[in-house]
C-alpha cells in the first residue's frame, strides 16, 4: 500500500515502486507482429462506433451530409453533454448506420484525404490550468481517451481523481510493443504526461513499466525489425543461437535482447511521473491490476487511466492545437501472412489492412479488433475500434473434436491446467482457434480463477454476487476495483466455460446505475 505525500516533487528524485506479481499466465500465440512499420492503404471511409463507448447513449450533433474537419464534434453523450466525440478525419458524413430500435451502430465519414483539422490553438501546458486543459480536450473530442476506475467508463470531467495511471506495456496475447508504438514520440508523450499530471491529486502520473520484456519471434522463428539505417532485417533466431557469441548474428541477438528487453527511456526517463516497475505474467500489463497494487480504489474514490499511445495523441493535440488522429496498430494472429505494425487513422476501415495479408484458408477466420481475450469481433470490412491498438485474426473452431476431452496430447490446444500435456513444452506458441472446448456448466472447479488473478479479490464470490444482483456484497467484495479485462484470463481458464466478463459487466452496470 502506498501513501504518498502530495507535496513531494517527483522531479527531484527518480522514485519508483516495485511490484512482483506471482499469479497469472502468458498465453503464447502464433503470429507475433514483426517490428516494422508500414503505412496502411488510405482508408476511404472511416467510422466511429458508439458501441466502443460502453454506457454512452449517443446524441447526434451533425447529420448525414455534414462536412467535417478533423476534430469537429459529431455526437455527444446523453448523460454528460460536455463529453463530445469528434471526427478523426476531414470529409463528409456519408452514412449513419442504425440497428434494431434505431440504435446508432456506425457513423461513416468519407475521408477526403486533405486532412484539414479544426484549429483549437496550441497550449502552453506548463502554464495552463486544469480547467483550460479540460475545456480544450472536451472541445476537440479527445476526452473519451480518459477513462476511469471504477467501471472503466469515460471519466467525468467534474471529478477530481486521486491519481492518474498509465500502463506502458501490454501483456495480452500478441500485444504490440509500446516502446515501438511510441518510438520517436518523446515530446508528444511528455506533453501528454505533463497535461495529465495536472488533473491528478498527486501532481504526477503513475507510469508503470515492465521489469523485463519478453522478446518474441514470429512463427518462422525470425525476429524482423528495421535497423538504425531503416533497412529491414530478418534475424534467424535458431541459427544465431547455435553460433558462437562472436559471430554477427549471435551478437545481434544479444543486443536485441538487451535493447528491446527493457522498457525504453521514453518511459523510464519521463518527467512528472512516479515509476512503477512491474514483474509478472499477464495480466501484469493491465492498468487495473497495477492500480490495485500501488494505489487501490476505495469506495467513493476515482482513478483515471489513459492508454500510453493516447497520451501521445493528447500531447500532440495540445502542442499543435490540431487533432492528428493517427496511431500505430499491430496486425497479429496465426491467420495473417505478414504480421506487422500499420500506421492507421482512428476508425480506419479494416479492409485496407487485411486485404492481401491473409493466409489462404478454406474457411473465413475470425477478425478481432483488440486482443484475443478482450477484443470485439468485427467483419473483414468493419472498422477499427476506438481504443484498440491491435488486430487479431484467428481461425474459427466450429469443428468436432473426436474424444477431445480424453486425449492427453493435442498439439493444437493449450491448457493452463496440466490435464493436457501442453505443459511439457512451455515455450511453444499456439495456433488456437475459437472453439469453446467444452460446454457451459455451473461453477464446479475451485481455485482456478485465483491462480490467474493477481488481486486480493475473491473472483467467484464477486461473480456470484453479480449474478444475484446483491449490490452490498458486490461493493464489499471490491467491484469498484475490478473491470472485465482483469478477469479475461479467468474466463480463458474457466473449466465451466462461464461468460465471466459478461457477468462482471452486468454487475458493474447495475452498481453504476444504482449508486451513481
Amino acid at each position: 500500500m502506498l501513501i504518498l505525500p502530495s507535496e513531494l516533487s517527483p522531479n527531484q528524485e527518480r522514485m519508483s515502486v516495485q511490484v512482483k506479481l506471482r499469479k497469472g499466465a502468458n498465453i503464447k500465440l502464433k503470429g507475433v507482429a514483426n517490428r516494422v512499420k508500414v503505412d496502411a492503404n488510405a482508408s476511404d471511409v472511416v467510422a466511429l462506433k458508439p458501441s466502443d463507448f460502453h454506457g454512452v447513449i449517443p446524441k447526434l450533433i451533425l447529420r448525414e451530409g455534414a462536412k467535417v474537419k478533423a476534430g469537429t464534434p459529431i455526437f455527444f453523450d446523453k448523460e454528460n453533454v460536455d463529453i463530445k466525440f469528434s471526427s478523426p478525419v476531414s470529409g463528409e458524413i456519408i452514412e449513419i448506420v442504425r440497428g434494431a430500435r434505431r440504435v446508432i451502430l456506425e457513423i461513416r465519414i468519407k475521408n477526403d484525404g486533405a486532412n484539414v483539422a479544426e484549429d483549437f490553438g496550441a497550449t502552453d501546458i506548463a502554464a495552463a490550468s486544469k480547467e483550460d486543459l479540460t475545456m480544450k480536450l472536451l472541445g476537440a473530442g479527445l476526452w473519451p481517451f480518459i477513462k476511469q476506475r471504477p467501471f472503466n467508463c469515460i471519466a467525468n470531467p467534474s471529478d477530481a481523481p486521486k491519481a492518474v495511471f498509465v500502463s506502458a506495456f501490454d501483456t495480452s496475447p500478441l500485444a504490440p510493443d509500446y516502446d515501438f508504438l511510441l518510438e520517436g514520440r518523446e515530446e508528444d508523450f511528455q506533453a501528454g504526461i505533463d497535461a495529465l499530471a495536472k488533473f491528478s491529486k498527486t501532481g504526477f502520473v503513475n507510469l508503470n513499466v515492465p521489469t523485463s520484456k519478453e522478446v518474441r519471434f514470429n512463427f518462422e522463428d525470425k525476429f524482423v525489425y528495421t535497423d538504425s539505417i531503416g533497412k529491414r532485417v530478418a534475424l534467424d533466431y535458431k541459427t544465431a543461437a547455435n553460433a558462437s557469441a562472436h559471430t554477427g548474428s549471435a551478437k545481434a541477438i544479444k543486443s536485441i535482447n538487451d535493447k528491446y528487453g527493457q522498457a525504453s527511456d521514453l518511459f523510464t526517463k519521463a518527467n512528472n511521473i512516479y515509476l512503477g516497475e512491474i514483474s509478472g505474467q499477464h495480466p501484469a500489463g493491465n492498468v487495473g491490476i497495477q492500480i490495485h497494487h500501488i494505489n487501490p480504489v476505495n469506495k467513493g474514490e476515482v482513478v483515471w487511466t489513459v492508454n500510453a499511445q493516447d497520451v501521445a495523441m493528447i500531447g500532440n493535440f495540445l502542442r499543435t492545437g490540431k487533432l492528428t488522429a493517427k496511431k500505430l496498430v499491430a496486425l497479429t494472429g496465426s491467420e495473417v501472412a505478414t504480421p506487422q505494425y500499420y500506421n492507421v487513422t482512428i476508425g480506419q476501415s479494416l479492409d485496407s489492412i487485411f486485404e492481401g495479408n491473409l493466409k489462404d484458408a478454406e474457411e473465413a477466420p475470425r477478425f478481432i479488433s483488440g486482443n484475443a481475450l478482450t477484443g470485439t469481433k468485427v467483419e473483414k470490412n468493419g472498422f477499427l475500434g476506438f481504443y484498440d491498438s491491435q488486430l487479431t485474426v484467428l481461425p474459427e473452431g466450429n469443428k468436432y473434436d473426436f474424444f477431445g476431452w480424453m486425449l492427453p496430447i493435442q498439439p493444437e490446444k493449450l491448457s493452463l491446467s496440466r490435464t493436457l500435456w501442453s505443459w511439457i513444452i512451455p515455450s511453444k506458441a499456439y495456433r488456437l482457434n475459437t472453439n469453446l472446448n467444452g460446454e457451459s456448466r455451473a461453477f464446479v472447479v475451485t481455485g482456478e480463477y485465483e491462480e490467474v488473478l493477481p488481486m486480493k479479490i475473491y473472483p467467484v464470490q464477486l461473480l456470484k454476487s453479480c449474478l444475484v444482483e446483491d449490490i452490498d456484497a458486490m461493493e464489499g467484495l471490491g467491484i469498484y476495483e475490478i473491470v472485465p479485462e482483469d478477469l479475461a484470463l479467468c474466463e480463458f481458464a474457466c473449466t465451466s466455460k462461464q461468460p465471466v466478463q459478461q457477468i462482471l459487466q452486468a454487475g458493474l452496470d447495475l452498481v453504476k446505475k444504482e449508486c451513481a
Binding site: 498465453i27 486521486k162 476505495n298 474514490e301 475470425r366 484475443a372 478482450t374 469481433k377 484467428l394 474459427e396 473452431g397 469443428k399 468436432y400 473434436d401 473426436f402 474424444f403 477431445g404 476431452w405 480424453m406 490446444k413 493449450l414 491448457s415 493452463l416 491446467s417 496440466r418 490435464t419 493436457l420 501442453s422 488456437l432 482457434n433 472453439n435 469453446l436 472446448n437 467444452g438 460446454e439 456448466r441 455451473a442 461453477f443 464446479v444 472447479v445 481455485g447 482456478e448 485465483e450 486480493k456 479479490i457 475473491y458 467467484v460 464470490q461 464489499g476 467484495l477 471490491g478 479475461a488 474466463e491 480463458f492 473449466t495 465451466s496 466455460k497 465471466v500 466478463q501 459478461q502
Partner: protein
Amino acid sequence: MKFLERLVDKMEPNFEKGGKYEKWFPLFDGFATFLFTPKHTTKKGVHIRDAVDLKRTMNTVIQALIPCLLFGIWNTGFQHYSALGLLEEFGFLDQILFGAIKVLPIVIVSYAVGLGVEFGFCIAKGHPIEEGFLVSGMLIPLIVPADTPLWMVAVATIFAVVFVKEVFGGTGMNILNPALTARAFLYFAYPKQLSGDKAWVNTELPDGYVQTESGKVLNELGQAVGQFDAMAGATQLSRFNASIGIYKEQGIDAGIAALDGAHSLLDSFLGLIPGSIGETSVVAILIGAGLLLHSGVASWKIMASGIFGAVFMTIIFNTAGMNPYMTVGPLEHLTAGGFMFGIVFMATDPVSAAQTEVGKVIYGFFIGLMTIMIRVFNPAYPEGIMLAILFMNVMSPLIDHYVVQGNIKDRLQRAKLHSLTH
C-alpha cells in the same frame, strides 16, 4: 471419424426443439458429446478458451482412481483365499478373477443406476446431462465392501443422486459429497450387512470345497488344503477398537498387547488388509493423489492439512494415552481404514469442500482432526472419515463465509485508513 460426425449432424435436428424426439435430447446430447467435443465457438467475451473442460477434469479423476480399482479387485480375491488358507491352491490369476467377479458388477450397477436417474431428471427438466456422476459412479463401488448386495448398491445410488444432487440443482450445486452419502446411507440403513467382522471378507467356499469343524478346508478330493482364519474379517480399525474392550476387562497391558495382533504397518501401507474395495492400499491411493496433484485437479491444501490435522490429533492422544486406542501412532492411523482414500478423493471434491484457499486449509485440518477423534472416542463407529467429511461439508459454507468476511473487512479497513491520512 468423418462418417460419425456426419451421422451426428444428420440425427441432431430430430432431437432439437420442434424435432420428433425433442424430449430425448439429453440422451442424444450425452452420447454425442461423449464422442466429440462439440463445435460451439466463442460468442461474446474471450475468443479463445482453455482446452480443459469438466469432462476432461472428471476423466483425470477417474484415471487417478484406476490404481485403487485394480488393486481392490486383486485384494478382494487375495483376502478371500487368504481367509480360507487357500493361497497356494488359488494363485494370482484366480485371485484377480474372483475379485473381478465380485467388483465389476458393483461398478456396472453403480454407473447404470446413477446415470439412469440422472438422465431421467435431465429429460424431465429439459437440460443436457452433466458430468458429475462420472466420478461419483466410480467412487461408490470403491468405498463399499465387496460383498455388498447389488440391490443395496442400487438403492444407495438412487438415494444419493436424487436427494443429495438432483434436488439441489444438479452438478455443482450439492452441499454433501454424493458418493459418501451413498455410503452413509448403506451404513445406517443396513448396519448388519455392512459392518462388523463378517462384512469385509467373503468366506464362501469354492465349489466342491468343504469346511470341517476344526476349521480345515478340504478340496473336492477330500485333501486338507487350507485353514479357516476366524480373525480374517477384522479390519485394522476394528482391531484397534477391540483393544478398548480388552483393556476394560483385562487392564492396560492386555489392551496394548491386543494391538500387536493388528496387521503390520507395511501390510496396511501396501493394502494387504481387509476393508472396502478401493480404500486399503495407500500405495495405490498415493499414485492417484500424485496424478490429481500434478494435473491441478485436486487441492494439495486439503490433502496436506487433512494429514496434518490427523497427525496433530493422534499426537495429542498419544500424549494423553488413556486407553490402548490412544496409543496407536500417527502412521498406523493414516494407513488404517479409509482415511487416505477419503482425504485424497472425497474431501477434495471441489463442490462440497470449502471454496476459498484459506478455507480449504481449515476444512482439511478439521477433517483430519475429527476423523481421529471419532475413531478413538466413539466405540460405535470404528471409522471416522466418512462422518468427519460429511460434517465438514456442511460446515464449509460457514468457513468460506468468514474467510470472505475477512476480505470485506480488510477492504473497509483500508478505505478507513486511506480517508484518515488524506
